[in-house]
Protein backbone atom coordinates (compact mmCIF):
# COMPACT_ATOMS: atom_id res chain seq x y z
CA UNK A 1 0.00 0.00 0.00
CA UNK A 2 2.80 2.34 0.90
CA UNK A 3 4.40 1.73 -2.42
CA UNK A 4 1.27 2.56 -4.32
CA UNK A 5 0.49 5.63 -2.29
CA UNK A 6 3.98 6.89 -2.86
CA UNK A 7 3.77 6.18 -6.53
CA UNK A 8 0.70 8.30 -6.98
CA UNK A 9 2.05 11.06 -4.88
CA UNK A 10 5.06 11.25 -7.15
CA UNK A 11 2.87 11.16 -10.23
CA UNK A 12 1.92 14.74 -9.50
CA UNK A 13 3.78 15.68 -12.64
CA UNK A 14 1.17 13.77 -14.59
CA UNK A 15 -1.49 16.35 -13.97
CA UNK A 16 -1.66 16.98 -17.69
CA UNK A 17 -2.92 13.47 -18.43
CA UNK A 18 -5.47 13.77 -15.67
CA UNK A 19 -6.92 17.02 -16.99
CA UNK A 20 -6.82 15.72 -20.53
CA UNK A 21 -8.84 12.69 -19.49
CA UNK A 22 -11.31 14.77 -17.48
CA UNK A 23 -11.72 17.06 -20.45
CA UNK A 24 -12.27 14.20 -22.86
CA UNK A 25 -14.77 12.45 -20.61
CA UNK A 26 -16.71 15.69 -20.24
CA UNK A 27 -16.68 16.13 -23.99
CA UNK A 28 -17.91 12.57 -24.62
CA UNK A 29 -20.70 12.88 -22.03
CA UNK A 30 -21.81 16.28 -23.31
CA UNK A 31 -21.75 15.20 -26.95
CA UNK A 32 -23.61 12.00 -26.13
CA UNK A 33 -26.27 13.86 -24.18
CA UNK A 34 -26.75 16.49 -26.88
CA UNK A 35 -26.93 13.79 -29.53
CA UNK A 36 -29.64 12.02 -27.50
CA UNK A 37 -31.66 15.18 -26.87
CA UNK A 38 -31.58 16.19 -30.54
CA UNK A 39 -32.45 12.64 -31.62
CA UNK A 40 -35.46 12.57 -29.29
CA UNK A 41 -36.67 15.96 -30.53
CA UNK A 42 -36.62 14.87 -34.14
CA UNK A 43 -38.32 11.60 -33.24
CA UNK A 44 -41.08 13.56 -31.47
CA UNK A 45 -41.53 15.68 -34.59
CA UNK A 46 -41.82 12.54 -36.68
CA UNK A 47 -44.58 11.19 -34.49
CA UNK A 48 -46.55 14.38 -35.10
CA UNK A 49 -46.61 13.46 -38.78
CA UNK A 50 -49.56 11.14 -37.97
CA UNK A 51 -51.57 14.23 -37.08
CA UNK A 52 -50.89 16.06 -40.34
CA UNK A 53 -54.22 14.93 -41.80
CA UNK A 54 -56.13 15.00 -38.49
CA UNK A 55 -59.72 16.12 -39.03
CA UNK A 56 -61.19 18.32 -36.36
CA UNK A 57 -64.87 17.73 -35.57
CA UNK A 58 -67.49 20.22 -34.39
CA UNK A 59 -67.06 21.45 -30.85
CA UNK A 60 -68.95 19.57 -28.14
CA UNK A 61 -69.63 21.23 -24.83
CA UNK A 62 -68.95 19.22 -21.71
CA UNK A 63 -69.29 19.87 -18.01
CA UNK A 64 -67.01 18.88 -15.20
CA UNK A 65 -68.99 17.18 -12.51
CA UNK A 66 -67.20 17.77 -9.23
CA UNK A 67 -69.61 15.53 -7.38
CA UNK A 68 -68.77 12.68 -9.74
CA UNK A 69 -64.99 12.59 -9.37
CA UNK A 70 -64.46 15.65 -11.59
CA UNK A 71 -65.27 13.58 -14.67
CA UNK A 72 -65.59 15.34 -18.03
CA UNK A 73 -69.28 14.83 -18.71
CA UNK A 74 -71.12 14.89 -22.03
CA UNK A 75 -74.89 14.76 -22.59
CA UNK A 76 -75.78 15.04 -18.93
CA UNK A 77 -79.26 13.66 -18.43
CA UNK A 78 -79.24 11.03 -21.18
CA UNK A 79 -80.81 7.69 -20.30
CA UNK A 80 -77.73 5.52 -20.53
CA UNK A 81 -74.41 6.32 -18.86
CA UNK A 82 -70.93 5.25 -19.86
CA UNK A 83 -68.07 6.01 -17.47
CA UNK A 84 -64.59 5.65 -18.94
CA UNK A 85 -61.51 5.75 -16.74
CA UNK A 86 -58.21 6.22 -18.49
CA UNK A 87 -54.70 7.56 -18.08
CA UNK A 88 -53.18 9.51 -20.98
CA UNK A 89 -49.99 7.45 -20.79
CA UNK A 90 -51.53 4.02 -20.36
CA UNK A 91 -50.79 1.91 -23.43
CA UNK A 92 -53.82 -0.35 -22.91
CA UNK A 93 -56.04 2.75 -22.86
CA UNK A 94 -54.67 3.50 -26.30
CA UNK A 95 -55.64 -0.01 -27.43
CA UNK A 96 -59.12 0.63 -26.06
CA UNK A 97 -59.27 4.03 -27.77
CA UNK A 98 -58.20 2.68 -31.15
CA UNK A 99 -60.75 -0.15 -30.88
CA UNK A 100 -63.76 1.72 -29.49
CA UNK A 101 -62.96 5.41 -29.61
CA UNK A 102 -65.03 5.99 -32.69
CA UNK A 103 -68.08 4.28 -31.20
CA UNK A 104 -67.83 6.34 -28.02
CA UNK A 105 -67.34 9.53 -30.04
CA UNK A 106 -70.54 8.73 -31.91
CA UNK A 107 -72.39 8.16 -28.61
CA UNK A 108 -71.32 11.65 -27.57
CA UNK A 109 -71.89 13.47 -30.85
CA UNK A 110 -75.24 11.81 -31.59
CA UNK A 111 -76.26 12.28 -27.94
CA UNK A 112 -77.04 8.60 -27.54
CA UNK A 113 -75.70 8.38 -24.01
CA UNK A 114 -74.21 10.33 -21.16
CA UNK A 115 -70.49 9.78 -21.42
CA UNK A 116 -68.11 10.64 -18.58
CA UNK A 117 -64.37 10.65 -19.13
CA UNK A 118 -62.37 10.27 -15.92
CA UNK A 119 -58.87 11.41 -16.83
CA UNK A 120 -56.51 9.74 -14.40
CA UNK A 121 -52.87 10.47 -13.76
CA UNK A 122 -51.30 7.70 -11.74
CA UNK A 123 -48.54 6.93 -14.23
CA UNK A 124 -46.36 9.87 -13.31
CA UNK A 125 -45.70 13.51 -13.95
CA UNK A 126 -46.42 13.46 -17.64
CA UNK A 127 -49.83 11.91 -17.04
CA UNK A 128 -50.57 14.86 -14.78
CA UNK A 129 -49.50 17.35 -17.46
CA UNK A 130 -51.47 15.55 -20.16
CA UNK A 131 -54.57 15.23 -17.95
CA UNK A 132 -54.36 18.95 -17.17
CA UNK A 133 -54.22 19.69 -20.91
CA UNK A 134 -57.23 17.42 -21.46
CA UNK A 135 -59.26 19.48 -18.96
CA UNK A 136 -58.05 22.66 -20.69
CA UNK A 137 -59.33 21.23 -23.98
CA UNK A 138 -62.67 20.39 -22.37
CA UNK A 139 -63.01 24.05 -21.36
CA UNK A 140 -62.83 24.99 -25.02
CA UNK A 141 -65.35 22.27 -26.00
CA UNK A 142 -62.64 20.30 -27.79
CA UNK A 143 -62.01 17.43 -25.41
CA UNK A 144 -63.01 14.77 -27.97
CA UNK A 145 -60.56 15.99 -30.61
CA UNK A 146 -57.75 16.56 -28.16
CA UNK A 147 -58.25 13.16 -26.58
CA UNK A 148 -58.19 11.46 -29.98
CA UNK A 149 -55.09 13.33 -31.14
CA UNK A 150 -53.30 12.68 -27.86
CA UNK A 151 -53.75 8.92 -28.12
CA UNK A 152 -52.65 8.94 -31.76
CA UNK A 153 -49.24 10.27 -30.77
CA UNK A 154 -48.99 8.49 -27.41
CA UNK A 155 -45.32 7.59 -26.84
CA UNK A 156 -44.40 3.97 -26.21
CA UNK A 157 -42.54 4.93 -23.05
CA UNK A 158 -44.01 6.59 -20.03
CA UNK A 159 -42.50 9.80 -18.66
CA UNK A 160 -39.86 10.00 -21.36
CA UNK A 161 -40.32 13.72 -21.93
CA UNK A 162 -42.89 13.53 -24.70
CA UNK A 163 -45.87 15.07 -22.92
CA UNK A 164 -44.02 18.32 -22.34
CA UNK A 165 -45.87 21.63 -22.19
CA UNK A 166 -44.54 22.41 -25.65
CA UNK A 167 -45.74 19.14 -27.18
CA UNK A 168 -49.12 19.25 -25.44
CA UNK A 169 -49.74 22.69 -26.92
CA UNK A 170 -48.69 21.28 -30.27
CA UNK A 171 -51.12 18.37 -29.96
CA UNK A 172 -53.78 20.95 -29.14
CA UNK A 173 -52.96 22.94 -32.26
CA UNK A 174 -53.77 19.88 -34.39
CA UNK A 175 -57.03 19.42 -32.48
CA UNK A 176 -58.26 22.92 -33.21
CA UNK A 177 -56.98 24.42 -29.96
CA UNK A 178 -55.04 27.50 -30.87
CA UNK A 179 -56.48 30.03 -28.44
CA UNK A 180 -54.26 31.84 -25.98
CA UNK A 181 -56.50 30.67 -23.15
CA UNK A 182 -55.73 27.03 -23.96
CA UNK A 183 -51.99 27.72 -24.13
CA UNK A 184 -52.08 29.58 -20.82
CA UNK A 185 -54.13 26.82 -19.21
CA UNK A 186 -51.61 24.15 -20.30
CA UNK A 187 -48.59 26.25 -19.36
CA UNK A 188 -49.87 27.26 -15.93
CA UNK A 189 -51.42 23.92 -15.06
CA UNK A 190 -54.72 25.68 -14.33
CA UNK A 191 -56.69 22.44 -14.01
CA UNK A 192 -54.44 20.60 -11.59
CA UNK A 193 -57.11 20.69 -8.90
CA UNK A 194 -59.50 18.80 -11.22
CA UNK A 195 -56.73 16.36 -12.13
CA UNK A 196 -56.15 15.67 -8.45
CA UNK A 197 -59.86 15.33 -7.73
CA UNK A 198 -60.23 12.78 -10.55
CA UNK A 199 -57.27 10.79 -9.27
CA UNK A 200 -58.55 10.84 -5.71
CA UNK A 201 -61.99 9.62 -6.76
CA UNK A 202 -60.56 6.27 -7.91
CA UNK A 203 -61.00 4.75 -4.47
CA UNK A 204 -64.58 5.95 -4.18
CA UNK A 205 -65.54 4.20 -7.41
CA UNK A 206 -63.31 1.24 -6.70
CA UNK A 207 -61.32 1.72 -9.88
CA UNK A 208 -58.07 -0.23 -9.71
CA UNK A 209 -56.60 0.25 -13.13
CA UNK A 210 -57.15 1.67 -16.57
CA UNK A 211 -58.98 1.46 -18.81
CA UNK A 212 -62.06 0.75 -16.74
CA UNK A 213 -65.55 1.17 -18.12
CA UNK A 214 -68.87 1.28 -16.30
CA UNK A 215 -72.20 1.00 -18.08
CA UNK A 216 -74.89 2.63 -15.96
CA UNK A 217 -72.62 2.33 -12.97
CA UNK A 218 -72.00 -1.39 -13.54
CA UNK A 219 -68.44 -2.53 -14.21
CA UNK A 220 -67.85 -3.84 -17.73
CA UNK A 221 -66.12 -7.19 -17.36
CA UNK A 222 -64.61 -7.79 -20.74
CA UNK A 223 -63.94 -11.32 -21.86
CA UNK A 224 -61.35 -10.45 -24.47
CA UNK A 225 -58.19 -8.45 -23.88
CA UNK A 226 -58.29 -6.84 -27.29
CA UNK A 227 -61.35 -4.68 -26.40
CA UNK A 228 -63.27 -6.10 -29.36
CA UNK A 229 -65.68 -3.47 -30.67
CA UNK A 230 -68.41 -6.12 -31.04
CA UNK A 231 -68.14 -7.03 -27.38
CA UNK A 232 -68.10 -3.38 -26.31
CA UNK A 233 -71.04 -2.44 -28.51
CA UNK A 234 -73.06 -5.43 -27.33
CA UNK A 235 -72.33 -4.60 -23.71
CA UNK A 236 -73.49 -1.03 -24.30
CA UNK A 237 -76.68 -2.12 -26.06
CA UNK A 238 -77.46 -4.58 -23.26
CA UNK A 239 -76.97 -1.99 -20.54
Amino acid sequence: MAKQAKATKSSGGDNFTRWLVIGMVTLVVATGAIFSVVGEKSKANESFAILSDFKVGPTVVSTVDDANGAGITFNNGAAKTVDIWEDPQCPVCNTFEQANGEFVEDLVRAKKAKVVYHVLSFLGNESVSAANAAYCAADEARYLDFHKAMYLVQPVLENSGFYSTENLIKIGSYAGLTSQSFIDCVTKGSKLDKVRAAYESMGKYNVQGTPTVFFNGKLWERKNNAFLPEEFTAAFEAS
Binding site: M1, K3, Q4, A5, K6, A7, T8, S10, S11, G13, D14, T17, R18, V21, I22, M24, V25, V28, V29, A30, T31, G32, A33, S36, V37, G39, E40, K43, L123, G124, N125, E126, P155, L157, E158, N159, S160, G161, F162
Partner: protein, 165 residues
Protein backbone atom coordinates in the same frame (compact mmCIF):
# COMPACT_ATOMS: atom_id res chain seq x y z
CA UNK B 1 -2.77 -12.03 4.39
CA UNK B 2 -0.53 -9.05 3.82
CA UNK B 3 1.88 -11.28 1.95
CA UNK B 4 -0.90 -12.54 -0.25
CA UNK B 5 -2.01 -8.98 -0.81
CA UNK B 6 1.50 -7.92 -1.83
CA UNK B 7 1.87 -10.90 -4.10
CA UNK B 8 -1.46 -10.74 -5.86
CA UNK B 9 -2.26 -7.06 -5.68
CA UNK B 10 -1.54 -6.38 -9.39
CA UNK B 11 -3.95 -9.19 -10.32
CA UNK B 12 -6.62 -8.10 -7.85
CA UNK B 13 -6.34 -4.59 -9.26
CA UNK B 14 -6.74 -5.94 -12.78
CA UNK B 15 -9.76 -7.99 -11.70
CA UNK B 16 -11.40 -5.00 -10.01
CA UNK B 17 -10.77 -2.84 -13.04
CA UNK B 18 -12.30 -5.38 -15.39
CA UNK B 19 -15.23 -5.96 -13.05
CA UNK B 20 -16.19 -2.34 -12.39
CA UNK B 21 -15.15 -1.16 -15.86
CA UNK B 22 -16.83 -4.06 -17.62
CA UNK B 23 -20.15 -3.60 -15.83
CA UNK B 24 -20.10 0.16 -16.45
CA UNK B 25 -19.26 -0.29 -20.13
CA UNK B 26 -21.98 -2.88 -20.70
CA UNK B 27 -24.58 -0.92 -18.72
CA UNK B 28 -23.76 2.29 -20.58
CA UNK B 29 -23.58 0.61 -23.98
CA UNK B 30 -26.98 -1.02 -23.59
CA UNK B 31 -28.62 2.32 -22.76
CA UNK B 32 -26.73 4.88 -24.83
CA UNK B 33 -28.72 4.28 -28.00
CA UNK B 34 -32.10 4.07 -26.30
CA UNK B 35 -32.18 7.59 -24.88
CA UNK B 36 -35.93 7.82 -24.30
CA UNK B 37 -35.88 4.57 -22.36
CA UNK B 38 -32.98 5.76 -20.25
CA UNK B 39 -34.61 9.14 -19.63
CA UNK B 40 -37.85 7.42 -18.62
CA UNK B 41 -35.97 5.05 -16.30
CA UNK B 42 -34.33 7.92 -14.41
CA UNK B 43 -37.63 9.81 -14.21
CA UNK B 44 -39.32 6.72 -12.74
CA UNK B 45 -37.23 7.08 -9.56
CA UNK B 46 -39.17 10.31 -8.92
CA UNK B 47 -36.21 11.87 -7.12
CA UNK B 48 -35.42 14.74 -9.47
CA UNK B 49 -37.70 17.12 -11.38
CA UNK B 50 -38.68 15.39 -14.64
CA UNK B 51 -36.68 17.63 -16.97
CA UNK B 52 -33.48 17.23 -14.95
CA UNK B 53 -34.09 13.48 -14.66
CA UNK B 54 -34.41 13.23 -18.44
CA UNK B 55 -31.18 15.14 -18.95
CA UNK B 56 -29.37 12.78 -16.59
CA UNK B 57 -30.93 9.85 -18.39
CA UNK B 58 -29.44 11.11 -21.63
CA UNK B 59 -25.98 11.78 -20.18
CA UNK B 60 -25.50 8.90 -17.74
CA UNK B 61 -24.94 6.09 -20.29
CA UNK B 62 -22.11 8.08 -21.88
CA UNK B 63 -20.48 8.70 -18.52
CA UNK B 64 -20.70 4.98 -17.78
CA UNK B 65 -19.09 4.14 -21.12
CA UNK B 66 -16.27 6.65 -20.60
CA UNK B 67 -15.53 5.44 -17.07
CA UNK B 68 -15.75 1.82 -18.20
CA UNK B 69 -13.19 2.33 -20.96
CA UNK B 70 -10.82 4.23 -18.67
CA UNK B 71 -10.94 1.46 -16.08
CA UNK B 72 -10.51 -1.35 -18.58
CA UNK B 73 -7.50 0.17 -20.30
CA UNK B 74 -6.16 1.48 -16.99
CA UNK B 75 -5.83 5.16 -17.66
CA UNK B 76 -6.23 7.57 -14.74
CA UNK B 77 -7.47 4.52 -12.87
CA UNK B 78 -7.68 6.17 -9.49
CA UNK B 79 -9.76 9.05 -10.76
CA UNK B 80 -12.03 6.77 -12.79
CA UNK B 81 -12.40 4.51 -9.74
CA UNK B 82 -13.46 7.44 -7.57
CA UNK B 83 -16.06 8.46 -10.14
CA UNK B 84 -17.21 4.87 -10.64
CA UNK B 85 -17.57 4.33 -6.89
CA UNK B 86 -19.48 7.60 -6.56
CA UNK B 87 -21.85 6.50 -9.33
CA UNK B 88 -22.42 3.15 -7.59
CA UNK B 89 -23.10 4.84 -4.25
CA UNK B 90 -25.62 7.13 -5.96
CA UNK B 91 -27.31 4.06 -7.52
CA UNK B 92 -27.49 2.34 -4.13
CA UNK B 93 -28.95 5.47 -2.53
CA UNK B 94 -31.50 5.81 -5.35
CA UNK B 95 -32.66 2.20 -5.01
CA UNK B 96 -32.91 2.50 -1.22
CA UNK B 97 -34.90 5.69 -1.77
CA UNK B 98 -37.49 4.09 -4.10
CA UNK B 99 -37.71 1.04 -1.86
CA UNK B 100 -38.29 3.19 1.21
CA UNK B 101 -40.96 5.23 -0.57
CA UNK B 102 -42.76 2.07 -1.70
CA UNK B 103 -42.30 2.79 -5.39
CA UNK B 104 -42.14 -0.29 -7.59
CA UNK B 105 -39.85 0.14 -10.58
CA UNK B 106 -37.44 -1.72 -12.76
CA UNK B 107 -34.06 -0.15 -11.94
CA UNK B 108 -33.28 0.32 -15.63
CA UNK B 109 -29.67 -0.49 -14.82
CA UNK B 110 -29.05 -2.28 -18.11
CA UNK B 111 -31.83 -0.70 -20.15
CA UNK B 112 -35.56 -0.99 -19.63
CA UNK B 113 -36.86 0.72 -16.54
CA UNK B 114 -40.15 2.24 -15.53
CA UNK B 115 -42.92 1.14 -13.24
CA UNK B 116 -43.55 -2.46 -12.33
CA UNK B 117 -46.97 -4.04 -11.99
CA UNK B 118 -48.00 -4.09 -8.29
CA UNK B 119 -48.66 -7.84 -8.54
CA UNK B 120 -44.91 -8.32 -8.98
CA UNK B 121 -44.04 -6.49 -5.75
CA UNK B 122 -42.10 -9.34 -4.15
CA UNK B 123 -39.98 -9.87 -7.27
CA UNK B 124 -39.28 -6.15 -7.43
CA UNK B 125 -38.20 -6.08 -3.80
CA UNK B 126 -35.90 -9.05 -4.30
CA UNK B 127 -34.46 -7.31 -7.35
CA UNK B 128 -33.82 -4.18 -5.25
CA UNK B 129 -31.85 -6.23 -2.75
CA UNK B 130 -29.78 -7.95 -5.44
CA UNK B 131 -29.09 -4.60 -7.10
CA UNK B 132 -27.94 -3.05 -3.85
CA UNK B 133 -25.61 -6.00 -3.13
CA UNK B 134 -24.25 -5.94 -6.67
CA UNK B 135 -23.60 -2.20 -6.61
CA UNK B 136 -22.06 -2.54 -3.16
CA UNK B 137 -19.62 -5.12 -4.51
CA UNK B 138 -18.79 -2.85 -7.43
CA UNK B 139 -18.31 0.11 -5.09
CA UNK B 140 -15.89 -1.99 -3.00
CA UNK B 141 -13.95 -2.81 -6.17
CA UNK B 142 -13.75 0.90 -6.84
CA UNK B 143 -12.51 1.59 -3.32
CA UNK B 144 -9.81 -1.08 -3.72
CA UNK B 145 -8.75 0.61 -6.95
CA UNK B 146 -8.50 3.91 -5.13
CA UNK B 147 -5.85 2.45 -2.84
CA UNK B 148 -4.17 0.20 -5.42
CA UNK B 149 -4.66 1.72 -8.86
CA UNK B 150 -1.63 0.10 -10.47
CA UNK B 151 -1.78 -3.47 -11.65
CA UNK B 152 -1.39 -5.72 -14.65
CA UNK B 153 -2.22 -4.77 -18.24
CA UNK B 154 -2.56 -1.11 -17.49
CA UNK B 155 -1.58 1.81 -19.69
CA UNK B 156 -0.71 3.81 -16.64
CA UNK B 157 2.39 2.83 -14.66
CA UNK B 158 3.54 4.28 -11.39
CA UNK B 159 6.15 6.86 -12.35
CA UNK B 160 8.72 5.93 -9.77
CA UNK B 161 8.31 2.22 -9.88
CA UNK B 162 11.76 1.67 -11.24
CA UNK B 163 13.47 3.77 -8.60
CA UNK B 164 11.88 1.82 -5.80
CA UNK B 165 12.88 -1.58 -7.03
Amino acid sequence: MSNLQTKYQPFITLLCRLLLGGVLLVAGGLKAFKPSESAGAVAAYKILPTDLAHLIGYALPWLEIALGILLIIGLTTRLAAIAGTAVMIIFIAAIISVWARGILIDCGCFGGGGEVDPSKASEAHRAYLMEILRDLGLALSGIYLYFFPYGRLSIEKPLHNIEEQ
